[in-house]
């Protein structure tokens, strides 16, 4: 009896270990290519990022930069506290809380001709909420603008 209990415990423990190993394998294979780094427009200009690599671009929508012809294809410019700018293109319906002057995070890829093609736009839910990355890097601050 005792030995059968030890044996069955061994079965379960090794099964658990196998599942954990499977999880690690899946993660190792799934991760590359799916990681989205956070970049500000300034960082994007300074770096040489190949077109088609997915990343998250955070910044403030430059007031007056938003244009659309048909209401489906949207273009606007994002900026950050260091003054970098990046033109963003987005197709589809805009989120309700999309507004000029506001900080947003766009997930997408560089299109190879200087533009950023956004797949999703993250705007804010709560008026006072600022995504952490934006708070740290990208929000325009009064005292640093100095132009």
């Amino acid at each position: 009896m005792k030995s059968s209990r030890v044996r069955s415990r061994l079965i379960w423990v090794s099964l658990g270990a196998a599942l954990a190993a499977g999880a690690v394998l899946l993660i190792v294979f799934a991760l590359p290519g799916q990681l989205n780094a956070f970049r500000t427009p300034t960082q994007l200009q300074a770096m040489d990022i190949p077109p088609g690599k997915s990343l998250r671009l955070g910044g403030q929508i430059v007031p007056g930069s938003y244009t659309t012809a048909d209401g489906i294809t949207h273009t606007f410019t994002l900026t950050d506290k260091d003054g970098g700018v990046q033109v963003v293109d987005y197709q589809g319906a805009l989120p309700d809380l999309f507004r000029e002057g506001q900080g947003i995070i766009a997930t997408g890829v560089l299109d190879g001709s200087g533009g950023f093609a956004a797949k999703t736009l993250l705007t804010k839910h709560d008026e006072a909420y600022v995504p952490r990355e934006l708070r740290d890097h990208a929000e325009q601050k009064q005292d640093t603008s100095g132009q």
């Binding site: 659309t68 012809a69 048909d70 489906i72």
Partner: protein, 655 residues
């Protein structure tokens, strides 16, 4: 004035909770009290605390209803032009109020645990559990009073409040947080009972019976809360998504996964006394994840669409509570767990074995979701934050769910302890299940083909068979239970519970598959008179009309409706749908109110986005097959959970 009393009640609850914790957790009854007297004192204090916190919460609700804008929370989050229902729900539609709601549920659950049962056998367990519950209440009361006091004043009192985020003026969102919190906090009781068991060094079937109704109830409300949140995101956020693997969604899903494992492993403890240490571990982990779920959302650590504004002091306090509960609970666990004697054994192929597999798959799934959710924080420690999205979760989580669902349909048929009966019977059973699964999947696909032009693929077909397998498993479970008692009317509540919950998940999985792989959607620019095809549907924009705000009936927004005709093949109008766009002048915000036509086979989902510079109107038109099944399935799961709670409740205290 009322607010002052409410504030005072909350302040008084703090020392009471402290007293309760000390008296209940002392190794022996203090000052020569008898054990029975100590229990009476702890129960009385517990009830008084619950009453005081209820009073405080009621005071805050009244401040919202009467528009007492001298209370800062009310001033910032309410407005006289708001309908009564949303004035009330506004109480918990903000940080301070929602934390008070959390404390309220915590204290009331503590009171309920105190109310029931004085049996000698479980007296010590109950007292210890009430002590642990008092410690948790104490921590969160302190959090409320010191960092998130809902009764802070603004002087002089403003005449008008600043309104509520219009997105939050919604019935789904009025109910979603309370249900979610009931779920989270319900796991505080199971945590308290788990820690009490660790303190006493004993977790037998009586303990398991005591924990089960709470665990089932917490699981049921958490399921309802998550489903309601998903439903709200589906119809209110205007993009028809029901699950996006957003950090906040994941954080509510984690305690659900471990909680599901917990309610299943408790059965094994009750039945055979095996898996005790593992079950205690789950009891601790689930509540820790529930705290994580409530508070990481509010700590600002993770970036999410659903996140709220952040105060650094709060984040630090939360981390302190979380850190303390993790260290104390796991420390206790590491110290006590080796002293538990192993329970009786079971063969690998048995109900116990099936439940262990359920636990292994669920915990591994929870592990990869946890890692993905916190990946930005982990990678930030090594440089810059990297986030992972839907592809990661699909690739790492789903592989563990497929075998789980496959086994889930069979589990309830496997006998306890060891296999009995002939191999022939088992093979026949499996073939029956497979035939039922394929028949159900075929029926669903044929119905879709008959009604619409669905996007089908081999993967979708196989996934449909998996859903049918699950639904068939639930149905056959019921048939088997009915056969055992020779009448479908004599099936025990627990038999109904397992059949409903499992079949419900099967129906929900049908909805999940169709809702993620078969949606047909177009965003178009239409002028009145234009028509457009989406899948098998033809729409024509008839016109756009506006209505003004009317505060006298509680409408504090201006609406624009797009009237869209759904046409038959012959071009006749079958129905008019009117998606709406609302503009709230007080906050200068707009919201999209989708118009959804629910049918048995799917939703026709229309959203009115905006007006383009060329004068056209932007509309998102979509056909979302089987989405109602997702929510219907969730309702069945909740129903199953409720029946399971009642069944478990009846067994409490039986030897």
């Amino acid at each position: 004035m009322m607010s002052e009393w409410a504030h005072l009640a909350l302040v008084f609850a703090l020392p009471l909770a402290f007293m309760q914790a000390v008296i209940a957790l002392l190794p022996a009854a203090p000052m020569g009290w008898s054990d029975a007297f100590r229990q009476s004192v702890v129960r009385a204090v517990s009830l008084i605390t619950a009453a005081l916190v209820s009073l405080a919460f009621l005071g805050l609700v009244l401040a919202f209803v009467t528009g007492d804008f001298s209370v800062k929370t009310t001033f910032e989050h309410s407005h006289t032009a708001k309908p009564l229902l949303y004035k009330i729900s506004g109480t918990w539609g903000n940080h301070e109020g929602s934390i008070l709601l959390w404390v309220l549920i915590l204290a009331v659950f503590g009171g309920l645990l105190a109310l029931r049962g004085t049996e000698g056998q479980t007296r010590d367990l109950r007292v210890r559990a009430l002590g642990v519950q008092a410690l948790i209440t104490l921590a969160f009361l302190a959090f409320t009073l010191f960092t998130s006091n809902p009764f802070e004043r603004v002087l002089p009192a403003p005449l008008e409040g600043r309104g509520l985020n219009p997105l939050l003026q919604d019935i789904g969102l009025a109910l979603h947080p309370p249900l979610l919190y009931f779920g989270y906090v319900g796991f505080s009781i199971t945590f308290a009972l788990t820690v009490a068991a660790l303190l006493r060094g004993e977790a037998d079937h009586i303990w398991a019976r005591m924990v089960r109704p709470w665990a089932m109830l917490a699981w049921t409300t958490l399921t309802a809360g998550i489903a309601l949140g998903s439903w709200w995101a589906y119809y209110e956020l205007g993009w028809g998504g029901f699950w996006a693997w957003d950090p906040v969604e994941n954080l509510s899903f984690l305690p659900w996964l471990t909680g599901t494992a917990f309610i299943h492993s408790l059965m094994v403890v009750e039945k055979s006394g095996a898996l005790r240490v593992w079950t205690l571990f789950l009891g601790v982990v689930t509540f820790v994840l529930a705290i994580l779920g409530t508070f990481v959302v509010r700590s600002g650590l993770l970036t999410s669409v659903h996140a709220f504004a952040v105060d650094p002091a709060r984040g630090a306090f939360i981390l302190l509570i979380l850190g303390l509960s993790v260290i104390v609970a796991f420390g206790l666990f590491a110290w006590r767990a080796p002293q538990f004697k192993p329970g009786s054994g079971f063969a690998p192929v048995s109900r116990e074995g099936a439940l262990v597999l359920n636990n292994l798959f669920l915990s591994t799934g929870a592990g990869v979701v946890l890692l993905g959710t916190f990946f930005p924080l982990i990678t930030e420690a090594f440089g810059q934050p990297l986030t992972v999205g839907k592809p990661y979760f699909d690739a790492t989580f789903l592989p563990f769910m497929v075998p789980l669902l496959l086994l889930m349909a069979i589990g309830p048929f496997v006998p306890w302890q060891r296999l009995r009966g002939s191999t022939g019977d088992r093979v026949r059973g499996l073939i029956t299940l497979l035939v039922v699964a394929m028949a159900l999947a075929t029926i669903v696909i044929v119905m879709l083909l008959w009604q619409s032009k669905p996007r089908l693929s081999l993967t979708v077909g196989l996934a449909m068979i998996l859903a049918g397998w699950l639904l068939g498993g639930g149905l056959l479970t019921f048939v088997q239970r009915a056969r055992a008692v020779r009448s479908p009317f004599k099936v025990a509540l627990s038999g109904w519970a397992v059949s409903l919950a499992h079949a419900g998940l099967g129906i929900a999985v049908f909805g999940l598959i169709a809702g993620s792989a078969m949606v047909q959607e177009r965003t178009v620019n239409l002028k009145p008179g234009d028509s457009v095809d989406v899948g098998h549907l033809t729409f024509r924009l008839d016109g756009v009309r506006e209505t003004q705000a009317d505060p006298s009936i509680g409408r504090n927004y201006i609406s624009a409706f797009a009237d869209v005709a759904l046409l038959t093949g012959q071009g006749a109008t079958k129905a008019i749908l009117s998606p709406e766009r609302r503009f709230y002048p007080v906050r200068q915000d707009s919201t999209t109110e989708a118009d959804i036509r629910v049918t048995w086979l799917g939703d026709i989902f229309l959203a009115f986005n905006t007006q383009a510079p060329d004068g056209g109107f932007i509309l998102t038109l979509s056909w979302r097959p089987l989405i109602p099944w997702l929510y219907f399935g969730c309702i069945l799961m909740v129903l199953g959970g409720l029946l399971g709670s009642i069944a478990a409740w009846r067994r409490v205290g039986r030897a």
